[in-house]
Symmetry: D5
Subunit: 94 residues, 10 copies
């Protein structure tokens, strides 16, 4: 089942650079693992912002929440989730 | 180049049903043609709303505007466009 | 799977009273049928407004959309959907 | 009497981890006690957010305020309260 | 129990004047009846707007909703309800 | 003359507890003095929030500003003021 | 006593032109009468909008409401009122 | 002097097509005349919307208002104006 | 040329009191100098807020920006500027 | 291809002055280099704000993002990007 997820990242500048770099590296590894598994289906950078639109394919709301709340940068994110359904004009199944 | 497009449809109830059905049929044909051509890459229904999230692959802003403003339901739509860029953690190229 | 759904009803006063009454009766029958089936788990009136908070238990986003878009008053509703997950402090399973 | 309560938690990252863990443990115990008593009737996690929708059954506004303002995490919460009434189409009494 | 209620009135100019005058007269009679009964405790005009702040003393959310939804002008109102509790610094009981 | 005043209190958690307690005690004393004088006519807690709705009876805007800006917690408040007038359906004079 | 008043005019295009012209002429006469009397102290057009910022000098909230609600175009206006006080750095008294 | 102007066009679908076409033709002629005169310095279509960003070079606020309020489509526009100044890093004078 | 300027002041409580007092004194002197020169034409306190509405008479946008960005408290201000034009019903020239 | 970019700068006052000056100098050099190259086509200060409207001519969304995210002040900016297309009434090509 698909969800559109908008993530805005706001890392406070009080966080030590080493900690930030560590979190970012973990975030990238985590994101790429989920993409390879097909759960994180799309990941696009919003031009000009430290934000992204992503599409997740999760079994349900609980799995989605586990995935998102496990993001290393989760404590520094504003996240909104929009549940997606099959559009009657879409030629591809979700 | 990819764009995230949010479309909210608001058809006034003063429009005759025949006209609405005609527009919807044209809209579906147009949307499916563009999907087959690869321009309208993703089309997802927002659950619970007469709205969708779509991803378009257009040569640029002008082509995107031509595509969107040619939508049969365009006069009855609120549209917002977010330009997307390659995310450094994305394993797939845009 | 649970979804929190906020529904605001705005019936244009240009709609004939007979039509409005017909739609409202259909809406009530439809809502009660779904409640008896367990799909429409909770339905609460927001005090002072022609609006409600409802909790739906649907198999997924697509089923939820089918349910909501089949509401007789759907064309006159502003709907927002919030996917719910299990809260770690909740003593009851969702 | 039922109230829909939306709680958004924003714990400043300047708070020591031990203090945060202590507060979270207290919050969980408090929440589960009230659920067992039937006051905190529903507690759902909003997928993707450190937020929840809850339904409280309180004798009135004052009791509700006492309950909410006694939440250990109360100082770090943005809370909105919506009073709920019986919906004419609801098959279950509130 | 007290509720702060904000009412914004928007009467469409398509409504015949006679109907508007009839509704306004009914509204005034209804409002004054409830004030005499002590339910509608305060009614203040917001300077410069066809809107008011009112304080209602109702047994609970359901009674409040019945009162508000019975307002003759209810179909033409945007209403928001804020539940009030006893303030620790208030010298008067609610 | 009456004013509806909405006060949202946001005390930064960097402020020492002793200072906060001192300010709160001053605030209570000040509020109760003004209530006894009839200037601070109503003071209600918004259920679930560190906020209140108050009604002030002041000679005019300047007096109101002096009263509000003298609140011990004033530096930590977001305040909005709505001037109130006599409602034509109110049975009591303002 | 001074009030900052923002007026946004939205005349529905269903209103006959003759009626609109009549209202506008009345509005102008009314506005100029109040300016000559010193009540309507300032009247400025917001560049690019059918809106204005005005400063009124009224005895109090009730007089202000009477003035504003007597505007011929009042039914087609969105009005917000901000009570003004003497600024400590102002060299001129309000 | 430069102004950034955002124009959103909302032509009601109750307006006869002939009238709409007439207004659009006038609008285009008027816009091109002002561009040739150098007053309407830039005119860009916002991709996906019946809206534009424009930059005007006007002698001052009054001239700008005259220009904008003379737009044939002015009655059907939502306009916001942002005054622009010389940026210290700009290599070109405004 | 006239501009309506809304200034909201937010001085962080981390700033030493001596520095705040120094800035405020400079701000007052600067504001009064400009008022005497006729540039800062009106300065009104918004009742209940550390904010003001001011009207500036500046040669143009650049001069206005220089004036505002030279305010001692400028770094701690949220400012919005609305360009004003002559209102056709105003009896006084701007 | 053109993009309208709105940049709001919020430099935390906890950042040492020397660091701020260094960043500002880098920002200016970077901005002027891009202007000379024709990428940063327009740069206007918003009167009264530490913000600007800019127009960029970039090959596409990715190039735009690289340009913006390389701004020395990028971490302290709120940026919104609006893709621009050719307006049918514009006499100049984008």
């Amino acid at each position: 089942m698909l969800y559109m997820v908008h993530m805005q990242v706001n890392i406070p500048d009080t966080l030590p650079k080493a900690e930030v770099d560590r979190l970012k590296a973990q975030e990238k590894a985590y994101a790429q693992k989920l993409q390879h598994e097909g759960t994180w289906r799309h990941l696009w950078r919003i031009a000009g912002q430290y934000a992204n639109y992503s599409v997740f394919d999760a079994a349900g709301n609980d799995e989605l929440h586990d995935i998102l709340s496990s993001l290393p940068l989760y404590p520094y994110m504003s996240i909104s989730v929009t549940p997606l359904a099959q559009h009657p004009s879409a030629i591809a199944a979700n």
